[in-house]
Each structure stands twice: as structure tokens, then as C-alpha cells.
């Protein structure tokens, strides 16, 4: 039941409650940290949930090897600043170890390959719960996700394995080998996240703010040039003022043209924009109508 709090305070209360419940119910939880805004907000919420104590879990980053250097730099800076343990699991290593085939195409996504590194990290460290920053408003497969989402030993999301979640009483009991993905900011929307960042003055990587960048115009999207994405002869290359609305792989995350220099500018941008966050910036969600649903079943976040 909702109380009379302001909605941001309500969301914050719910998230802190879920984080503490995760700490209490699981032996070895982990917080999946990507360096993106949602996981930065999670870290901020964890500070509120557990300080002056230490976090009862490490931060775990699944490094695809295609991350923006700015995001990696920020990840290390934040982990160091708060003095919490950071574990980095490398997708490069999994690719070598399992001889994985990279996705073909001009703007390859390592999204599907991330799952291997994630599942290895879960097994090696015996994590029984992984906290993630996914939100139900992102995508329709996520709209049906639980707060405590049960996964089998292959990390698979079986829609039929999902338990009813009554009130705010969370059942974290799982068989050995199974684990739970925990989503404390399930009920937040993109705008809620930005309003929260503004209210609490949370520091972000500068990728999120308008900056000049050389980009290839691919269909109607702007993909930054980098050592991974070099322009081809017929490419239209532009230097534009852009910002990132989501931070994924450099190879498949599009920038959006923007003049937004402050969080307030970004909030106004989002209110004006009528395109969803994933629709605008993720080249890999558009392959099929059920792209996310399929990845989740294979063990994705």
C-alpha cells in the first residue's frame, strides 16, 4: 500500500527495503555494476541502506571489452571513492576460453556474450543473488519481471518458474545452484531516475552530457567512431554535439544529438522526446520484437 510520501521518496524507500532484504536473505549477493546511470543510482541507494557499515556484497562488472573508456574510468573512480570491493569479469576472457563467435555485422553487440562471463562469475564466486538496475518500463519482457527473479543453474529465466510476489513480502529461498536476480528499481521510470539523480546531486560519467563527438550516421542513428568502429569509405561522418541516453557497448550504442549540459537540460530533453530509451539508442534490441525476451531466457540480466 502506498503511503503519503512524495513519489521519489516512495521509490527510494522501496529500493532500500529490497537491498536490505537481499542482504538478509542471501549468503553471497553481488551488485552488478555497469558504470551506467541506473547502477550508479543503485550504489547510491546501497550507501543509504548499509552505511556506516560496509556493503554486504561486492560490485561486479561484466566488462565486454567494448565499453566506453569514460565508463570504465568512472567505475574505478566510484569503487575507489566508496571503498568497496570491485570484481571485474571479462567477456574477452570468456570469448577465448569458450572460443565464442562474435556477432557478425558492422556494429557487433556483445550483449549475448556477456551472459557467459556473468554465469562464470556467478559460479566462481558462488553468488546466490545478483542485484541489477533493470526497470520494468524499459521493455515489455521486463514489464513482467519480478523483484526477486528466480533463475536456474543455467541462469535462465523461465516465465513459468516465477513466483507470485504478494505485497512487499519477498521470498528469496532457492535450491542450491539456482540464483536470484534482484531488481530494486523495478518501479522506476527513466524520468524517475533522472529526477532522483538531480535531487541528490549524484555524480555521473560525462558521457551523459552533451559533448562533441565524431560519429558515423547509420540509418537514422549516430554511432561514435572509435578504435572498434572505423568509418568506411561511403560512410557519412559528422562531428556533432551529442550525449548518451544509455551507456552500453561502444559498438552498438547510439548517441543522441543534444545540447543538454546539465541534468535539468536532460530532464527537459526526456520530457520532450517521444522515443523510448532503448528504441533510440540500442541497435541490438531492434533485431526482433522479442529480442529482450529471448536474451533473458538465455540468462541475460
Amino acid at each position: 500500500m502506498s503511503q503519503k510520501h512524495n513519489y521519489l521518496e516512495q521509490l527510494e524507500n522501496e529500493a532500500i527495503y529490497i537491498l536490505r532484504e537481499t542482504a538478509a536473505q542471501f549468503e553471497k549477493p553481488a551488485l552488478l555494476f555497469s558504470g551506467g546511470k541506473d547502477s550508479i543510482v543503485l550504489v547510491h541507494l546501497a550507501l543509504k541502506a548499509f552505511r556506516p557499515g560496509k556493503f554486504p556484497f561486492p560490485l561486479v562488472h561484466i566488462d565486454t571489452g567494448h565499453n566506453f573508456p569514460e565508463a570504465i574510468e568512472f567505475r574505478d573512480y566510484l569503487a575507489n571513492q566508496i571503498g568497496e570491493k570491485l570484481i571485474v569479469a571479462s567477456v574477452e576472457d570468456s570469448i577465448k576460453k569458450y572460443n565464442l563467435k562474435e556477432t557478425a555485422g558492422r556494429f557487433p553487440s556483445r550483449n549475448a556474450l556477456q551472459t557467459y562471463a556473468l554465469l562464470d562469475a556467478i559460479e566462481e564466486n558462488e553468488f546466490d543473488a545478483c542485484i541489477g538496475g533493470a526497470r520494468r518500463d524499459e521493455e515489455k519482457a521486463r514489464a513482467k519481471e519480478r523483484i526477486f527473479s528466480v533463475r536456474d543453474d543455467f541462469g535462465q529465466w523461465d516465465p513459468k518458474l516465477q513466483r507470485p510476489e504478494l505485497w512487499d513480502i519477498l521470498n528469496g529461498k532457492v535450491k542450491k545452484g539456482h540464483n536470484v536476480r534482484v531488481f530494486p528499481i523495478s518501479n522506476w521510470t527513466e524520468l524517475d531516475v533522472w529526477n532522483y539523480i538531480q535531487k541528490h546531486n549524484i555524480e555521473l560519467p560525462n558521457l551523459y552530457f552533451a559533448h562533441e563527438r565524431e560519429c558515423i550516421v547509420h540509418q537514422d542513428k549516430l554511432v561514435a567512431t572509435s578504435k572498434l568502429i572505423q568509418p568506411l569509405e561511403n560512410d557519412k561522418v559528422v562531428v556533432e554535439k551529442v550525449r548518451y541516453r544509455t551507456v552500453g557497448d561502444m559498438t552498438c550504442t547510439a548517441a543522441v544529438p543534444s545540447e543538454a549540459a546539465t541534468i535539468q537540460d536532460i530532464i527537459e530533453d526526456i520530457i520532450q522526446t517521444r522515443v523510448s530509451e532503448r528504441g533510440q539508442t540500442r541497435l541490438d534490441d531492434q533485431l526482433s520484437e522479442a529480442a529482450m525476451e529471448d536474451r533473458k531466457k538465455q540468462g541475460y540480466f
Binding site: K48, A141, K144, L166
Partner: protein, 410 residues
């Protein structure tokens, strides 16, 4: 701005998906890329967008013909943020509706104006009421197909009024709507000039939220914060959620089950000291004496003691494919406290379609009954209708780890 969570109840034919689609579409909550997909999918001649597709489910659901519980949808207006629990209304998915209802402040019950109050209306109303929802909107839909008849609206309203005494709603609104055309959804319709109430959206925006702030003070310890480092050597904080009432610095608290009185010397919220903690706040309490307190312990005020018992009568809504088994040990999770229980007796089964009690003792998936439980250690609780935050629990099957029952204590 605060948040209202509501559930919509109705069958596909009642226009539930269209209603949700209409609310999202007319409040500008659908992104343009999602609209593009919807336009592509809309196959009906002469129709631009089939609104019911907005709530369309997963491929797994379409392929296997199963419904994966509740989908959550979000929208907001200048006045309020809304979370819709979109749950299937069909009887075989009662479990899913129970889940959606448990997290809702309000229920919209869709009634097809051509059919009036049916068995299904009663089922949806009773599920909402049983799960503790206090506010209901009876949306009398498809009124356009009956020439916006005031007589029919009044008849359906009168019919519902005769059954409402058996429900625990404290506020009911009746609204004539057409989800398809948009009458009285976002703005008031000229087609129903006789209707004096507000449009659906305005009703949703203005309904006063229930609060547990005025109830007896209830707090359970969720997590103990003891850093044990140099700087915080003596720090011993008890984190948890204020379920109801309030606590202030200086209050004498009773710690249960130890039954020890101690003074609250400090309250922290978001790492800052505060004087008063209210229902809904996540706080850290500090006590005067060093007492051994662990997760699941209850903190109350001396003049507001809860029920203490090992023998509990309760409503149960059964959620699992395996039927309830008398004499078997289950785990009862009373928020942060787990105890073992045996169900001793099924006192009576309740038929949610006709609201009759029977002596049947076999309780299967989707059944609702009153049962007697025995716990292996005392539980500190309130009756669910007195306190919806401390009067509920879930039952877990220890062999499958599934949540098999929802309990509302009597």
C-alpha cells in the same frame, strides 16, 4: 506528487486492455517507436491503432497460451504517478489477480453495460476486498453501445450497491465509460450529460490514499548494522521499515519476543538523524540498552501490544499447483520473521463466485478458505483488517521453495 497503484479487473471481452491502452495513449505515455510497432501490428480495417495491443504480452504467452502473471505499466500526470497492475481476469488466473491486488491501492472493476453485474464482477470485487483494497471504481463500459443510457447506468449502480455491504471497500465510484471511444476516460463526455461525477483519470488523480500512519506502531528489524570498525566501534543500529504508526526519539519501546523495554535514543533516516519516523519510512533505530536483537524481532510501543499466539486463524489464498496438505510443515514468512507451521484444519472454504461458505476441505490452486495454523514459536501480529501491514504473511513449501499461499490473519 505521490503514487497510486491500481489493478484493473475484467475479462478480455470487457475491454480491459482497451481501457489501459486508452489511459496510456491519451496521457501521452506511449513512445513514438512503440506506436510505430503498434501501427504495424494493427490489422483492423479503418483503425489506426488497436489500443488493446499496448498491453500485449510476451511471445511465450502467445505461443504457449499461458499468461505470465501481472504486467506493470507506468504513467504519470501533473498530479500523480500511476502504476497499473495489469492482471488477467479469468478464473483460472485468480492467483495472478491476487498478486496484482496485493500491491494495489485501488481496483477498477470493469462491467460490460450490456451484461451488468455478473458472477465475474463479484469475483473480482471480492478478490480486491479480500486482499485489503479499500477503494473501488466500477467502470461501466461500452455505454456507447446502449445509447449512453442513464437508466442502465443507474440499474447497474443499484445492483452493485446491494452487494457492497459484503465487501470491505470504504469508497466506491461509479463511472459510465467507453474505453473504445474514450468517453469519460480522460475528459468528461458530452454524451453522458446526465452523469455528475468526474472522468476516470480525474477520479484516479484525486482519490485520497489510505495510510497506516494512524494505526498502532509496528516495526520489525530487517537488518542489523554493526560496522565493528575503529570509527564506529559502538555503532549498533537496527534497520527496518515502519509498517504503521510512528516512533519518536524518547519513546519507550518493547522488543518482542524478548519482552524487554528500552528507550529509543536515536533514529536515522538516509544517514541523517531525525526525531520522528512515520509509516513507510526506512529507518535505523538505536536503543538505550545493549540488548540482543535480531532480524525479525518486533518493536512496538508499550500501550499498543500486538496479538501474541502460536495458534492462528487466517484466510488463505492458495497459489500453488500442489494442493494444501494438512499436517505438513510449511514455512510461514511474516515479513522478516520465519516460523514453521502446520495447517491443522480447514474451517471453511469460500466460493468467490457466489460468496457461499462450504465445508469442503480440499484446497487447490486458486481456492480461498479460512484455516487454523499452529506455529512452532509465538508470532506477534494483528488481524489483517486492523492492520494490513502486520496482519499478512506468505506460506512457503520448503521442498520446492515456492510461495504457495497468501495469508490474511483473522
Amino acid at each position: 506528487m505521490n503514487t497510486l497503484r491500481f489493478i484493473t479487473a475484467g475479462n478480455v471481452d470487457d475491454g480491459k486492455s482497451t481501457l489501459i491502452g486508452r489511459l496510456l495513449y491519451d496521457s501521452d505515455s506511449i513512445h513514438t517507436d512503440q506506436l510505430g510497432v503498434l501501427k504495424k501490428q494493427t490489422k483492423q480495417e479503418g483503425v489506426d491503432i488497436d489500443l488493446s495491443l499496448i498491453t500485449d504480452g510476451l511471445r511465450a504467452e502467445r505461443e504457449q497460451g499461458i499468461t505470465i502473471d501481472v504486467a506493470y505499466k507506468y504513467f504519470s500526470t501533473k498530479k500523480r504517478k500511476f502504476i497499473i497492475a495489469d492482471a488477467p481476469g479469468h478464473e483460472q488466473y485468480t492467483r495472478n489477480m491476487i498478486t496484482g491486488a496485493s500491491n494495489s491501492d485501488l481496483i477498477i472493476i470493469l462491467v460490460d453495460a450490456r451484461k451488468g453485474i455478473t458472477e465475474q464482477t463479484k469475483r473480482h470485487a471480492s478478490i480486491g476486498s479480500l486482499m485489503g483494497i479499500k477503494k473501488a471504481i466500477i467502470a461501466i463500459n461500452k455505454i456507447d453501445l446502449l445509447n449512453y443510457s442513464e437508466t442502465i447506468f443507474n440499474q447497474i449502480k443499484a445492483d452493485f450497491e446491494t452487494i457492497k455491504s459484503e465487501l470491505n471497500f470504504n469508497e466506491i465510484h461509479y463511472i459510465p465509460v467507453s474505453a473504445l471511444v474514450g468517453d469519460n476516460i480522460v475528459t468528461k463526455s458530452e454524451n453522458t450529460a446526465w452523469y455528475e461525477g468526474k472522468a476516470l483519470l480525474e477520479t484516479l488523480e484525486s482519490i485520497e490514499l489510505e495510510t497506516t500512519e494512524d494505526l498502532a506502531s509496528r516495526f520489525q528489524v530487517q537488518w542489523v548494522i554493526r560496522p565493528k570498525d575503529e570509527a564506529n566501534h559502538d555503532y549498533r543500529g537496527y534497520a527496518g521499515l515502519v509498517l504503521s504508526g510512528s516512533y519518536k526519539v524518547g519513546d519507550t519501546a518493547i522488543i518482542l519476543p524478548a519482552n524487554i523495554a528500552t528507550k529509543i535514543v536515536k533514529i536515522e533516516k538516509n544517514l541523517e538523524s531525525i526525531q520522528v519516523a512515520k509509516a513507510g519510512d526506512n529507518v535505523v533505530l538505536h536503543f538505550e540498552n545493549n540488548i540482543d536483537i535480531s532480524r525479525g524481532d518486533t518493536v512496538v510501543l508499550y500501550h499498543q501490544l500486538p496479538i501474541e499466539s502460536t495458534q492462528i486463524n487466517s484466510w488463505v489464498s492458495w497459489l500453488d499447483n500442489t494442493p494444501l496438505q494438512l499436517g505438513k510443515t510449511y514455512l510461514l514468512q511474516h515479513r522478516f520473521k520465519n516460523v514453521r507451521v502446520k495447517i491443522q484444519e480447514v474451517n471453511q472454504k469460500w466460493n468467490i463466485n457466489d460468496w457461499e461458505f462450504t465445508n469442503e476441505t480440499e484446497i487447490k490452486l486458486n481456492d480461498i478458505a479460512q484455516i487454523s495454523l499452529r506455529t512452532n514459536q509465538p508470532l506477534f501480529y494483528d488481524a489483517f483488517d486492523k492492520n494490513p501491514k502486520s496482519g499478512n504473511a506468505i506460506l512457503i513449501d520448503e521442498t520446492s521453495n515456492n510461495t504457495v499461499g497468501a495469508l490474511m490473519f483473522l
